[in-house]
């Protein structure tokens, strides 16, 4: 079986400062991986580097998505190849409607796959279906991208986009931040509905809370740019109970 994601010795930084110091991670179809770690450990850098965020510089290593080498590709091609990043801080784009934004995204992917663009009717039908997954209001779909959305609406909008694009690998970067318990349930419910045995999910989070709703198969602890500890779901509970200090002790600090 080919892994959905294989990251080997990935090193990356920002403005000359090395943040990721050799990450190794393999994610197989059907799996959910959680990446946890204290602030500043490199969690968001990891997701940004995989998605092609131009702020970061890759210093070495490789990342392969379902057979495709990611690191030399522009962000749009990584998306077409099946990568999706749910942003910790979704960006507001005044003047670009959700409909135009999504249509451009969906049809760009279809073009990459040598498929014809969707007709207006087909597209709107698809929007309707996928909106239901995260109970996203129709009114939001006709507004500018994320403009004036509440924190919860922005995160639901991220999962809605994920539903529209049907990625092979979804990376949810701190999707639980800023969510109340109801919004968290809806967002997590959306993610669970989209899970199949052919796709995979990486959940990046600070807290155990989200993992009550999205059950991980593996939990990894990222610390100072390296995965220092991996385990099953019980590891998240252990972290919740004991904090990160014992990890710091284990790595010799």
């Amino acid at each position: 079986m080919q892994p959905i994601l294989k990251v080997e010795n990935l090193r990356a930084g920002i403005e000359g400062k090395e943040i990721l110091k050799g990450i190794n991670l393999t994610v197989n179809p059907g799996e959910v991986h959680a990446i946890m770690g204290p602030n500043g450990s490199g969690k968001s850098t990891f997701s940004g580097v995989l998605a092609g965020d131009p702020r970061f510089t890759v210093l070495g290593g490789s990342a392969v998505l379902d057979g495709t080498q990611l690191l030399d590709l522009p962000p749009e091609t990584r998306s077409h190849a099946g990568l999706f990043l749910s942003f910790q801080y979704p960006v507001e784009i005044p003047g670009v409607t959700m409909v135009n934004f999504m249509r451009a995204a969906v049809n760009a992917k279809r073009k990459y796959l040598n498929e014809d663009p969707l007709s207006a009717a087909e597209f709107l039908k698809l929007m309707r279906q996928k909106r239901a997954i995260v109970e996203l209001d129709n009114k939001l779909a006709s507004r500018s991208v994320n403009e004036g959305f509440s924190g919860g609406e922005k995160k639901r909008n991220e999962i809605f986009q994920m539903a529209m694009l049907e990625p092979k690998l979804s990376i949810l970067d701190e999707t639980d931040s800023g969510l109340d318990i109801d919004a968290l349930r809806i967002v997590a419910g959306g993610v669970n509905k989209l899970r199949t045995d052919r796709n995979a999910t990486i959940v990046i989070t600070h807290y155990q809370r989200l993992l009550d709703y999205i059950r991980p198969d593996f939990v990894h602890i990222l610390y100072k740019g390296r995965i220092v500890y991996s385990g099953g779901p019980e590891l998240a509970l252990e972290l919740e109970e004991k904090g990160y200090d014992w990890i710091k002790e284990q790595v010799g600090e």
Binding site: P75, P90, I93, P94, G95, V96, L165
Partner: protein, 450 residues
Amino acid sequence: MENSLNQYLELIQGNLATIDANAPEALDALRPEAVEALRRFGRLPRRGDEGFPNASPEEMFAPDYGLNITRRPIPADVAASFRCDVPNISTLTAIVVGDSFHPTATLLKNLPEGIEVMSLARAAKEHPTLVSQYLNKLAANSSAPVALNTALLQDGVFIRAARGARLDKAIQIVNIFNTPVAMMAVRRVLIVAEEDSALRVLLCDHSQRADVDYLSSQVVEIFAGKDASVELYDIEESSARTRRLSSVFVRQDSGASFFSTGCALCGGDSIASSRIDLEGAGASASLGALVIASGSRHIDNSVLLTHAAPHCTSRQLFKYALFDDSRGAFGGKVVVRPGAVRTDAAQTNRNLLVGEHSTMHSDPQLEIYCDDVKASHGATTGQLDARALFYMRSRGIPEDEARRMLVQAFMMDVADSIRLDALRDRMRLLVEKRLGGDASASCADCAACK
């Protein structure tokens, strides 16, 4: 240093009898004073002169353009006017080839009572009092380019709405360059909207040849009487070798409203100045501009807007998207005179530097000589939002398309403010097409007017 004004002064001096003989006396009468003013100015403004940070009238007027001083008829390809026909827009159209006025049959047939559209030469004969009362009263040789326009003036367009006459349809004046040799057009538009009248005027610039140099010197004078409403739309969709220097003068009596939108989509260097005088209480003026420039094009806009009476409102929204090495300038001055109480003035200039080497020069100014006024101005110049760009690309939208969508979104509020429904839709489409694919596409490739 070169002085391109001299060739025009020499031309006038050597051909005065011919110029005069081919123009109505009312226009000839303005010539001596204009020539006198030109001699006083001594030269045309140059880059670096106050108000000309980028474009240079001196350079614009330097090439050896032909001038049609004998008023030889230039064949008008009327079919050309259909190229820029705005679908579903119901306008009354006249075509101005070079600077000669050609009304269409529909225009002549459908003008309602009280609305007149004709050549300035004809108006000088039919309405000598009106023409002498208004022509050149605002422009008044106030700058060298304006004085040059007056000194060479032989014809133009006259639009009048008599007291109480209201026309909902737009009067569309299609300016066309089509000669095989370099040509300069001396355009003059005089608009008189009398008390309680309403007019909408759409000026479109087209060049049928992209391989010939053209220059248009345009002066528009607008008089809006008490409670009159005038809308002016000015669309530049010409060629990279068509340059333009346009000066618009507006005087508004009490309660008069003036609304204008300028759209510079394709064309060569362009300098536009507007002088708006809010002379009567309760008058309102709204000026918008949408500029998309690429290549090494220079586009300058300047506005001098004077609140001379109480309770007047003014709004300005000038937006630029500058690609490649293009340069833009905006100089806007709002003056609130003593006694202009309860003035409400707002001026906004927002610019997007898309091209790595594009530059913008923005100079907003407020001069307030009165208490009890509300006045604001703001100018921002920036690049496309890098976070928005990455966000869009992370969803699979290719970089070029993401850029186009962001520029389009930036520009849309100006297009949306257009009050002529069909034109508003058309502008949205033209902006989209203009930005589509390669934003440096020339007019010939942009298909906007095909």
